[in-house]
């Protein structure tokens, strides 16, 4: 995690449900998000294609946002979140509704597209998180149950007998959350 000045202006939120303007194409949608963030129309229009390439959606740029699948819509959400150029991305349940393979693909795309950014993900789906994050904060009822490195968290799961990284994450999670999970 890089050094970041606290404050909302440094953060872009990608909500659980990525919304879009009805009737707009994917590129127009991302460009609109850029304009909304204060960029000039020309600048955001130019950047939108570049960002869609980074999230592997350039082939869908002229389709309406409505026609995208759940996973594609979230990738468009990443492009929308990146276009303001803020250093921190806060993603709320970004893989909700996606299967493990799709979630994995999403994080891979995010890892490449948002390279150099600080990414904070809030998620209940922890199996797909492996390999992409440096730190884990486990919060239950407003209390931090675990705060530490990702590797340390995986190690806790492995000590409980989990053979794979995904299972280790789940085991560690359950060990902290107990009945709450």
């Amino acid at each position: 995690m890089g050094s970041v000045s606290p404050g909302f202006d440094a953060t872009t939120l990608m909500p659980q449900e990525v919304s879009y303007l009805r009737g707009l194409t994917v590129r127009e949608q991302v460009a609109y998000a850029g304009w909304l963030a204060g960029k000039s129309p020309a600048e955001s229009w130019a950047e939108s294609l570049e960002l869609l390439e980074r999230v592997n959606l350039s082939d869908k740029s002229n389709q309406t946002a409505k026609s995208l699948s759940g996973g594609q819509l979230r990738r468009m959400g990443i492009a929308q979140a990146l276009i303001p150029g803020r250093p921190v991305l806060l993603l709320d349940e970004p893989t909700a509704g996606l299967d493990l393979q799709e979630a994995n693909s999403f994080y891979k795309t995010l890892d490449v597209a948002a390279s150099g950014k600080t990414i904070i993900v809030s998620s209940h789906q922890i199996e797909g998180l492996g390999g992409f994050f440096d730190h884990v904060a486990l919060i239950c009822a407003g209390q931090i149950q675990f705060l530490g490195s990702f590797d340390k968290f995986v190690e806790i799961g492995q000590r409980l007998g989990a053979p794979t990284m995904g299972e280790a994450l789940v085991s560690a999670y359950n060990s902290f959350m107990g009945d709450e999970s």
Binding site: T12, W35, A37
Partner: protein, 457 residues
Amino acid sequence: MKRLAKATLVNALILFSIGGVAAFLFSTGMVEPRFVTSYWFGITSQSGLTLIVSAGIAAVGGAIEGARLSSLKINTLPRNRSAFEITLRALTPVLLAAILIQFVSFFSLSRFSPGAADTPNFALLFVFLLILIFHLLLGFNLGLRIHPALAIPIALTASYMWLGASWGVNFYPLRYMAGLILVDCCRIYEQLDASSVYTALIFNGIGAVASFLFAARRIRGRGNANLLMGIAAGLLATTAALASTNAASALGPLPVTNRDRSSMRCLNALSEGHALSKVYEFNTLERSLSPYICFFDGQDPRGEFDTALRSTWHRLSDLGFDPPKLIVGTNQQNDQQQVGVVATPVSTPEEVAYSLVADIVGQPAICDQDSDRDWANREFTYRALINFLLTASSSPNYELSGFSPSLSEIERANYRNLEDASQVFLQTDYLDQESRGWLMLAKQSVQSCGVPPPVMP
């Protein structure tokens, strides 16, 4: 083009296509030629007829864009744009479409402009623009707040009802707030009462600002500033209603008044043209042997009305009538000094000459002491008098008897001797004493309750 969303442009283009055709049909099929020919003020006013289309289109377009914007959870995206910028970007294409629809109507009507001496009324065009903005924001607010399946039809219905239904409401300020009544104007000698324009301007102007604040409140989401914005919007809406009601308080059912006569040009058979004010000076009228006839520029495009009026005026003088020596082409109260005639650039010389005869005679007096029989008698005398004058004041060039009011079989039998006398006068300029006497008494009895209708010769 890429800087605006294609969907927004397509939406505006579809709306313009529908509205543009409707506007063209409206402005070609429903326009009143007497109101627009050679008169830019009338053209500007009548072009507002298509507001019923363009404002509806603006409301529907606003609802669509509002719904589009509400589908985006805008507060979840980083935002450095004000609600004004967001609204402007969302609504500009639709507003342009609505304005273009109005221009289709305006340019379509401008074919009537040849001969016009005035200029388009930009204040009125500005009021039409404010009306469009108000309807646009009305639809936008609906789109932002309710499902588009409801917002779009409600916006269209509300726009149509506000413009159309308020026209027929007897609480007059409502008509002026809506503004469609401003299209009910004008013959070349008329203009809009300034209060009617101010009322529409105040209501739609302040109303548009209030509507924008309501929309901005929705766009911005929750917060203390939004509470203040809501209060401000409410206050402005109230101010718009109160101030415009006050501005319209002196207005009647129609916003039309007589045009300022100072720009009239007056001609006498023996003199150069004068401004009307000059005609009043130095007892000009008393010294004149022929009438001064005053028209606005463009009102008598072929100079035919002047000739017809002069001819009719001299025939009436020969009959022993003493017609006023000042004839003005405007709707006004007649007196001994002057008479107003109805003349628009599309009138025929005969219609204008008929107007002179009808205006000099006036309408039959309504007298409290008259029995039904007395009234019938006075009214018959009136129709007989008009019949006589129209026949007698005709000439080979101006046949006026076609305007004569109808007479029943019995009335025609009673009128026969006078009819013969009018025909004799038409051919020989001779009028017997008995008919001449009846003529004078008939005129007095029509105009005065103190004079009973004379017996027919």
